[in-house]
């Protein structure tokens, strides 16, 4: 609309060490440095995080919902990737 519009950033927060960054939401900022600070102020007001990523929303490439089937369906028929696929005799431990 005008030159004053700030781009949108997606915010990912690591809530504590050992966990991965999780999408928290988005915000507007003129640049990456400010986006980080705004994210700190907005998404960690109650000490919800120990680390933050910000990514310009426009830079995210997403799988399209139309590709849903070819993209994700093949994974659904590979039950052998899941541990519950295998029968283990009772009493066998640490497996």
């Amino acid at each position: 609309m005008t030159s004053a519009d700030w781009p949108l950033w997606e915010v990912f927060v690591r809530s504590r060490r050992g966990l991965s960054h999780t999408h928290a939401g988005s915000l507007h900022a003129p640049d990456a440095a400010m986006a980080l600070r705004n994210a700190r102020d907005l998404y960690t007001r109650r000490s919800e995080g120990v680390s933050i990523w910000v990514v310009p929303s426009a830079e995210i490439t997403a799988s399209s919902p139309d590709e849903k089937d070819p993209f994700f369906a093949p994974a659904a028929d590979k039950p052998y990737r899941h541990p519950t696929f295998y029968d283990i005799p009772e009493g066998v431990r640490h497996l």
């Binding site: 030159s3 519009d5 700030w6 781009p7 949108l8």
Partner: protein, 320 residues
């Protein structure tokens, strides 16, 4: 943003099936245009309410009568700005930028909750807003955590979690006043008298007059009817008022053994519609301040965008 699918009917079936299975709809899923429009309208109105809702309470930050109360109030008003941001962020997932939404708010094309067009005349109003207005808002919002649109539901989960302190601080504030000096007690009662009826109006018009209700319920954007939520709210408030030592300004309010709910007097819907039309005590003032803040901040936003462009930052022209 919308991916136009070749076969809309097939898409619609997928959408309907997702709703039926109580699954969430996500931003890039196909959705009926009316569903999208309803959501954008509702999320925007919700976000605007948070932002405009800062004003009546911020009105008392500089006069808060103890440092403890001042800290609480500042944190609460700040939360409201934050909640506005979460909701604008949710609305943006449907491809409508915040600037466009703010523009609609500033030009009166989108509404915010009418409750904020009433003035905060005394300190006790801060308590009444916390107890009644936030209480009504929470009654409305908790079911929204299960709203069919994923980003909205997730924003509401976060908001409800953060808001749990808002209502309690209001109640505690009123309780302190009610048990305080005579003047403080009177102040508390006066505030409850003024905020009670507008709070009941927050649930929207009666079910038989509510324009969007039925469709929103079918889409699982809305989970309960206006009257149902209003009744639930009254039932919750009556014993709470008793514990406060304050009365609710309704001579018709009494327990109905048969229905298992409280009966209450008629709501002045004329007043509701007048305020909605822009004729409330503070409509002009609220929008005026919002517009002024936005206009006076334009040079700041421009400066930061200009700086980012000069330094290869990521501020691109209107990339929202």
């Amino acid at each position: 943003m919308t991916t136009t699918a070749p076969d809309t009917r097939g898409c619609e079936a997928v959408f309907d099936a997702a709703l039926a299975a109580d699954e969430r709809i996500e931003p890039r899923d196909w959705m009926p245009d009316a569903y999208r429009a309803t959501l954008v309208r509702q999320m925007a109105q919700h976000a605007h309410s948070e932002i405009i809702g800062m004003q009546p309470e911020a009105n008392w930050i500089t006069r808060a009568p103890s440092l403890r109360r001042k800290a609480i109030l500042m944190a609460k008003v700040q939360d409201e700005a934050g909640h506005g941001l979460y909701l604008y962020s949710a609305a943006e997932t449907l491809g409508t930028g915040r600037d466009e939404l703010l523009d609609k708010l500033h030009s009166g094309r989108q509404k915010y909750s009418s409750i904020f067009n009433y003035p905060t005349l005394t300190w006790a109003d801060v308590g009444a807003i916390g107890w009644l207005v936030d209480g009504a808002a929470i009654t409305n919002q908790v079911p929204l955590c299960r709203c069919s649109y994923g980003p909205y539901a997730r924003a509401m989960v976060r908001i409800c979690k953060e808001e749990s302190f808002h209502q309690r601080q209001g109640y505690e504030l009123l309780l302190t006043l009610s048990r305080g000096t005579e003047a403080q007690h009177a102040m508390a009662q006066d505030a409850v008298n003024r905020w009670w009826w507008p709070s009941l109006m927050m649930f929207g018009p009666p079910d038989d007059e509510s324009a969007h209700s039925a469709q929103s319920m079918a889409w699982k954007i809305k989970r309960h009817s206006n009257d149902e939520l209003r009744r639930r709210f009254v039932d919750i408030c009556v014993p709470q008022a008793e514990s406060l030592g304050l009365t609710l300004p309704d001579p018709d309010l009494r327990w109905n053994e048969e229905s298992g709910h409280h009966d209450f007097g008629p709501i002045d819907w004329d007043e509701f519609h007048e305020v909605l039309r822009g004729n409330g005590p503070c409509n002009d003032q609220r929008i005026g301040q919002r517009r002024r803040a936005h206009e006076e901040g334009a040079w700041v936003r421009e400066a930061a965008a200009a700086h980012a462009r000069k330094h290869g930052g990521t501020a691109r022209e209107a990339q929202v």
